[in-house]
């Protein structure tokens, strides 16, 4: 190898590196959120019933997708406008396999992961060569391709979608046939996704990804092939979204191409920005808040987006850093 970069004397002189300190605040917020989510099945016994648990399941599934999108958007600086396509891919894999008589989740999930990973690898290798607005447009184009491809599957319902007459099995059991089984599975996968993405972001891999968002040329001049790291992030995010799609199909017993529509991708971006990009809990909070607002406002009026729109503008104007940023400001600096 080449000469070492410093003499031992210089090494001895170098002072110790300062310790990085992490704030405990976000962990506390997350603990509260997950405790509330864990309590919902109990609350639904006395109030809300199946409506409440179903609402929570939907919110949690979308939170998984939003967290996976934040890995790309917040940490990688890659605004994908086609992320819901991966949800649709996961959901349709589940729907089609069940229709064709394969009920075992232990087969469905790996298949969905493999298909999503392959699609992410191929489409990512193309769209990650661009950046900025071009990247947004190409991810949108890939998303629309998936949307129309699924709508053209006449034998699986075409544009009308596909009803699953039976839910999947889990290792031969009917665990996923019960509402409670689905709730626990979705809850655990959300918890896992939330923890996983945080680990990824602060790993060596995540450090390269975050650095490339700030200054890709500098990262390349250090010797990193930026495209490869971004592509891996794209595949990971796609796979997580597809897993959420499988859960969606399991929960709703119905899949349709609209799962992959571009409006859905837009909603996901809104969730992430609303909650606070590249923060520990932003995407989680954003998704839960979005669903809550959608549910309450749409109960009041059919034109709920007329109210939601101005609300978004207010948050964009006054809560930079999203809801999580607002929370931090209320609690004051650490």
């Amino acid at each position: 190898m080449s000469a070492p970069s410093a003499s031992p004397a210089a090494a001895a002189k170098a002072p110790a590196a300062p310790e990085a300190r992490a704030s405990r605040g976000p962990l506390f917020v997350a603990a509260v959120i997950f405790a509330l989510l864990a309590a919902i099945p109990l609350v639904s016994e006395v109030w809300g019933g199946a409506w409440l648990t179903s609402l929570a399941v939907r919110a949690m599934i979308l939170a998984i997708v939003a967290i996976s999108l934040d890995l790309l958007m917040g940490h990688g600086g890659l605004v994908s406008f086609g992320h819901s396509a991966f949800v649709a891919i996961g959901a349709y894999t589940c729907g089609i396999m069940i229709t064709e008589g394969t009920y075992e989740m232990a087969l469905i999930l790996p298949t969905a992961i493999a298909i999503a990973a392959t699609f992410a690898l191929l489409s990512g290798a193309i769209c990650l060569r661009t950046s900025g607005v071009s990247f947004i447009m190409i991810t949108l184009a890939f998303g629309q391709m998936v949307y129309f491809a699924l709508g053209s599957l006449a034998q699986y319902g075409g544009d009308d979608g596909l009803t699953l007459w039976s839910g999947p099995d889990l290792f031969g059991t009917r665990v996923l046939g019960s509402e409670m089984g689905v709730y626990i599975s979705v809850f655990l996968l959300l918890l896992g996704t939330w923890a996983l993405v945080h680990r990824l972001v602060y790993s060596r891999f995540g450090r390269v990804l975050r650095a490339a968002r700030q200054n890709p040329t500098r990262v390349a001049s250090m010797g990193y092939s930026v495209l490869r790291y971004r592509l891996v992030a794209y595949v990971i995010a796609g796979v997580l979204a597809a897993i959420a799609g499988v859960l969606w199909a399991t929960h709703a017993s119905f899949v349709s191409p609209s799962l992959g529509a571009w409006q859905r991708s837009g909603d996901l971006i809104v969730m992430v920005v609303l909650g606070g990009m590249a923060t520990r809990n932003g995407a989680l909070v954003g998704a839960l808040f979005f669903i809550l607002i959608e549910e309450t406002l749409s109960a009041i009026t059919h034109d709920w987006r007329l109210i939601f729109g101005p609300l978004l503008i207010l948050i964009a104007l006054y809560a930079r850093g999203g809801l999580v940023g607002l929370l931090d400001r209320v609690r004051g600096p650490q």
Partner: protein, 252 residues
Amino acid sequence: MSEVVLEIKGLNKAFGALVVTDDVNLQLHRGECHALIGPNGAGKSTLIHQVSGVLSPDAGRISFEGRDVTALTLAERAVAGLGRSFQITSILPEFTVLENVALAAQRRSGTSFRFFRRAATERALNEAAMVALARIGLEARAGVVAGNLSYGEKRLLELAIAIAGRPHVLLLDEPMAGMGRAESESLTETLLELKAEYPMLLIEHDMEAVFRLADRVSVLVSGAIVASGTPDEVRTDARARAAYLGEEEISA
């Protein structure tokens, strides 16, 4: 004559009708600092960009340690051992100084496709980064967010990032640009120390620094090298004086 580390042969580059690199031939020897001087717009940065892989030449060949690297990307050339600094400060503004440099050290220490362990607590990386920072004299600022550094400190960080990657050659694009007198003098001292270890291709406008550091000076005018030699030869070369040094020397 010592071993040639970096050799540029017949390099040409044009942006449309504007020729920015005109048949440039240049050699960098081990243990040497080769300075590239010339008026603004002479194509100095464009040349460094082609050597480091930011731009690709229209014609010509760049060999590094005996290997043709002309077709390699910026990242591949960095892996091969070409480290560089940028004329316009190029750092990671949201990371701490330590993390900026640790990321450069990380590239040399095993794979970066590690997904779970917290990178900020890897002692080997942080120690390597602190060693690089100590050599540049920036160790006291390790915990500061890089975007909050003073301009001069950012220039130093730029250099610390470059040496933390343990390059075989340093390509320095105006490391002293915009620095005050005292700052550039202290940076000149640092570069004199580093010179023993890293052959340098240096672009610099600070003539005092150039003549202290350089073993060989080439004068670039309108993309072409008009004079090349030891600092003393170039100082007395009529073409070089006419092109660049002339007015300053006369007024001095």
